[in-house]
């Protein structure tokens, strides 16, 4: 399992691996919104939590189809399926690798992009915390979508359609935590819900994704 994690991280950071694309997309999005709605603090500050969370969602979506598609193309997925490693474990590890290369940089870069959107400084801890708790669920749900669409030509668009609705609960609670943080309210309740969603996803989705992969490999 560690071998798979190391390989995926190494692949992501080599040329053409797509490391940093998510963050770059997030940056562009955060920079474009002030152009679209105007740089006024009174307009930007209230929508910043929502924009940041939607941006994180979309940035995460960009690299999802790579989770299994590349391994499927070069035959590695077949070989992983007959390896002693359980397929559920392989799914979990690949989702973890996706989170480390996409979700984690988003978490770390988010406060900086919050500045672009006039997010109040006191909201930064809530923003980082909500992303840190929520983005693992995004990667895992994405792995499920990628497992369903693996082997399809132009599966990326279908993947987005399948996965984005599943992101709704995470988005609602994540943005709510950030909004409450910006207004100086208590964030415990939505944080508990968000953590609950993430834990449920991490516990159940590897089984579903592995089942989808087995069907697709047939």
């Amino acid at each position: 399992m560690i071998a798979l994690l190391v390989r995926d991280l190494r692949l992501a950071t080599r040329a053409g691996g797509g490391f940093g694309l998510g963050v770059a997309f997030f940056l562009i999005l955060s920079a474009l919104v002030p152009f679209g709605v105007g740089p006024d603090r009174a307009v930007l500050a209230p929508i910043a939590p929502g924009i940041l969370w939607v941006g994180a969602l979309l940035a995460c979506l960009l690299s999802l189809d790579r989770i299994f598609a590349l391994d499927h193309e070069d035959g590695s997925l077949d070989l992983l399926a007959i390896a002693p490693l359980p397929l559920e474990g392989a799914v979990a590890v690949k989702a973890l690798a996706h989170w480390v290369t996409t979700g984690l940089p988003l978490v770390l870069a988010a406060p900086l992009f919050g500045l672009l959107l006039h997010l109040p400084p006191r909201a930064m801890p809530a923003l980082v915390l909500s992303l840190a708790v929520g983005t693992p669920a995004l990667s895992m749900l994405g792995a499920f979508g990628a497992a369903i669409t693996v082997g399809l030509r132009r599966g990326g668009l279908l993947l987005s359609l399948l996965v984005l609705p599943l992101y709704v609960p995470t988005l609602i609670f994540g943005a709510e935590i950030t909004r409450r943080g910006a207004e100086g309210l208590a964030i415990a309740t939505p944080l508990v819900f968000l953590a609950g969603i993430t834990l449920a996803v991490l516990a159940l989705i590897p089984l579903a994704a592995a089942a989808a992969l087995r069907v697709n490999l047939r």
Binding site: R10, G17, D74, G75, D78, L79, I82
Partner: protein, 210 residues
């Protein structure tokens, strides 16, 4: 000693059965060459034996985690070097000798080249070297000699002979003669599924309404 026993196997591709009634035994130290025209279902049969696909009917009996599979795709990452690629599979499959496998397929000189910069034949040799690091007794090979030159085919045949000599076995779909005295040839043409015959158990939705 029998490593693989296949009894009355029927396999389906795309929901329609292609082969049925296939039975054979494969002993340790022996190889079985599968022959038959294109589209007969050789690849499907091999995928069933490798465990990537469920058979429609029949039994495949072998020890757990015995099969190593090599098909048209070599499972190589172009951004990783030959050594890194092999080392990864060695770790996943529980540790074979990477250096030895590279040497066996005459890849030592290319060990630190990225797999993406290797030629088709060199990639294939690297893909076959992966079989050595899996340390599994049964090699399930689908056209292993594609894009290999004559010298490489001879090299691979000697590696295969060593594997058989050490108590391994191989199930191979190939059209060329590997010159192995331990090999037996099984022509699959007589096992082609008859479309009109009533299936006792449909292979899937398509066949149920065919």
């Amino acid at each position: 000693m029998t490593l693989l026993r296949v009894q009355d196997l029927a396999v389906a591709r795309g929901g329609l059965r292609v082969l049925e009634g296939v039975s054979f035994d494969l002993d340790r130290g022996r190889a079985l060459i599968l022959r038959g025209p294109n589209g007969l279902g050789k690849t499907t049969l091999l995928r069933c034996v490798a465990g990537l696909q469920a058979p429609v009917a029949g039994r495949i009996a072998m020890p757990e985690d015995a099969a190593a599979y090599a098909a048209h795709a070599d499972g190589l990452k172009p951004a990783l070097t030959a050594t890194e690629n092999l080392a990864f599979w060695a770790r996943v499959f529980g540790g074979g000798d990477v250096e030895g496998a590279l040497a066996a397929m005459e890849l030592t000189a290319l060990a630190h080249r990225a797999a993406g910069s290797l030629s088709a034949g060199q990639k294939r040799r690297l893909g076959l070297a992966r079989l050595l690091v899996t340390r599994r007794p049964l090699w399930v090979l689908d056209e292993p000699t594609v894009s290999l030159d004559a010298a490489s085919v001879a090299r691979f045949a000697s590696v295969l002979a060593d594997h058989l000599g050490q108590g391994g076995a191989a199930l191979i779909a190939t059209h060329i003669d590997l010159g192995l005295p331990q090999a037996r040839v099984l022509d699959l043409t007589p096992f082609r599924a008859r479309p009109g015959a009533p299936a006792t158990r449909p292979a899937g939705f398509n066949e149920a309404f065919a």
